[in-house]
Symmetry: C2
């Protein structure tokens, strides 16, 4: 018989999550300076890393960034010219596209734990750049400027990052960390150069969080469809602020910021969405995939008697008005998407836990899925994706 000598101890760590909306943040704003400033007397050394897709659409961005640092040299200084690295899902294909070059640049520039990484781009790009920042010296400061509707309302404002194992299939985000950024600055004026698909993409996440938490936001989106389709920046900003607020409050007040528990309400519709993205080799953009995924789970919920009848129709109508649910692919086997359930379970861990909607604004977790009903829902929603 052996005896133990126990040294167990407990501690807590306090985090501050800063998320601000500000127009013209790179020219006349103050949010960036507030987020990049450190407690040190010296200006904070900073490496700026930009999403190549964004630089293609807005060629003046590197000059704009350099100009900001020239004007704010007492707050922060660039350690090198802004780096431009691949954006979109290519950013997350293992460590090679973004994580490794950014780490090498951090080492070359002799940046320290009080230095900043300023990452400007879409959600996938921010996921990869934030992982590099969180690994370097076990965590440099990281300030994010999300530049898509998806990133400003959802992907860019959370406390997690990640990339995929190169050569999926497999679960998404296999390599990542939970890490609270030093600040997130959402500048709606950066959304102007988005194409229509990326302009509407974030609205899928707005509708998702509305269904899970806030029927009022669903009403706001429904009453704003004309303005949103006309690319009215005020209308989009109002929707994104409410979306981001619900997301941030879920993190800061939901009691499980680093997702130690099984419930993951903000992943409503995502088990099928992630699988659609992976199996289409990223041809289906995230917002379109989330729209399809939500429809699957609303139909599934109705046929399992969980979701109030008529909910799927209401959301279907709204999504179609906004341009979603018209995506087409060359080939896809709907039944193969069922593997998304197991991949989703692995990523959360433990028992399968899926968020379902009872009525818009009210969600419930379930741990068992009627597989026949799920297959039927997938077939119903995704069966017409192939061909025109």
């Amino acid at each position: 018989m052996t005896s133990q000598h126990t040294l167990d101890g407990e501690f807590t760590v306090a985090y501050r999550h800063r998320v601000r909306f500000e127009r013209d943040a790179l020219t006349s704003g103050t949010a960036l300076a507030e987020c990049l400033a450190t407690p040190d007397a010296e200006p904070a050394r900073t490496i700026a890393v930009l999403d190549a897709g964004l630089v293609d659409a807005a060629g003046n961005l590197p000059a704009l960034v350099k100009g900001w640092f020239e004007k704010n040299a007492r707050v922060a200084t660039l350690s090198a010219d802004p780096m431009v690295l691949p954006g979109s899902e290519a950013a997350k294909d293992g460590l090679a596209p973004v994580v490794e070059p950014l780490l090498a640049s951090i080492a070359r520039g002799a940046l320290c734990r009080r230095s900043n990484v300023l990452a400007i781009g879409g959600g996938a790009f921010l996921d990869a750049a934030s992982l590099a920042a969180s690994l370097a010296h076990r965590g440099l400061r990281c300030v994010r400027m999300p530049t898509t509707t998806l990133a400003q309302g959802d992907a860019g404002i959370g406390v997690k990052n990640g990339v995929n194992l190169p050569g999926l299939p497999g679960p998404k985000n296999l390599m990542g960390t939970f890490d609270v950024p030093s600040g997130v600055v959402n500048d709606p004026t950066l959304l102007a150069t988005l194409d229509d698909v990326h302009w509407r993409s974030g609205l899928a996440e707005s509708i998702k969080v509305a269904l899970v938490k806030d029927v009022g936001l669903l009403g706001l989106v429904e009453s704003s469809t004309d303005a949103l389709l006309a690319r009215d920046l005020d209308a989009m900003e109002a929707v994104l602020i409410r979306t981001a607020e619900l997301h941030v409050r879920h993190i800061t007040e939901g009691g499980d910021p680093f997702e130690a528990q099984l419930a993951r309400p903000l992943d409503f519709g995502h088990w099928i969405a992630h699988e659609l993205e992976v199996q289409s080799h990223w041809l289906v953009p995230h917002g379109e995939a989330v729209a399809l995924g939500m429809m699957v789970d609303l139909h599934l919920g109705e046929s399992m008697g969980i979701t109030a009848e008529g909910t799927a129709d209401r959301v279907d109508r709204l999504l179609r008005q906004l341009g979603f649910l018209s995506w087409r692919l060359d080939s896809l086997e709907p039944s193969a998407l069922m593997s998304g359930l197991e991949h989703f379970r692995q990523h959360l861990g433990g028992q399968l836990t899926i968020c379902m909607i009872e009525t818009p604004g009210r969600a419930v977790d379930i741990h068992a899925v009627d597989l026949d009903a799920a297959r039927a829902a997938v077939e119903c929603v995704c069966g017409n994706l192939v061909g025109r």
Copy 2:
């Protein structure tokens, strides 16, 4: 003039750090089961990963591990045969030696966030394996069994991990995270196969933490030298428990578990130690390097009027009795070690902060170093390392 819309919020995360000493943990103990068990009804799927250096010395280890899981199948099950991966500093040469194969195995085995990585080995090996565990799905559970004196008293019981950029020089541990293991099980019987260098290695860290925090521990080591040299396991266990306890209390009660502040008292002597390891291409083992690094900072402290006179002599005597300070190298340029100051500053971030000893058990932080005195101290301690 622009205006901000602020969504800032704050939250705290609670952590439990479990560190237990238990003999024969793989045969008759209970600590491993306690640490590997999850709240789920199903046994926790587990991947076991073993330090190749350890398996060389104790060839029955894989069978012992498999036997444990057979006996405890209701608590945890192996997802595959134990993996054997490189140990020592080779484990930390980038992601290729340990991190990538372990991540691939986690993906292949479809492990989830409620699965365990059980890592058994020395400190460097545990640093690399723990990084893989903390990245997979943003954090699998990780249970560590440190198998060296260094790892049981210091490197294996903390809340950080890391590997180096491949192809140093540069700061150590450029890629890593802060991550609290699900449990650490220190089994002193695993120390039996260590060679003499690794047997004494951890005592350098014991003397370090004694100098920083506890003169009583210094006395315990001084009064145990004969038993320690005779490889008395009871004597070593008593020293390691006190060392680990001071280390764990520093993490759980010191107010800065994830090292957001500048002070790093447990890194006393380490600015020179890390540089010695890197510049000797890891020929100088960590314990020997820490012994040399402490002597540099004690001489420096005495010449700067910070450290009480006689302290360096007292520690020099003890270290030599235990077999330290006799290391020899083919080539080394003592003055080149001065770059350790800047590498150390980068890793901590911000202003240079070095821990110095006033009297044994009482430390103080300084932010400026008398460089001439530092060069003289380095020359005095390291000048005779070359040749015999």
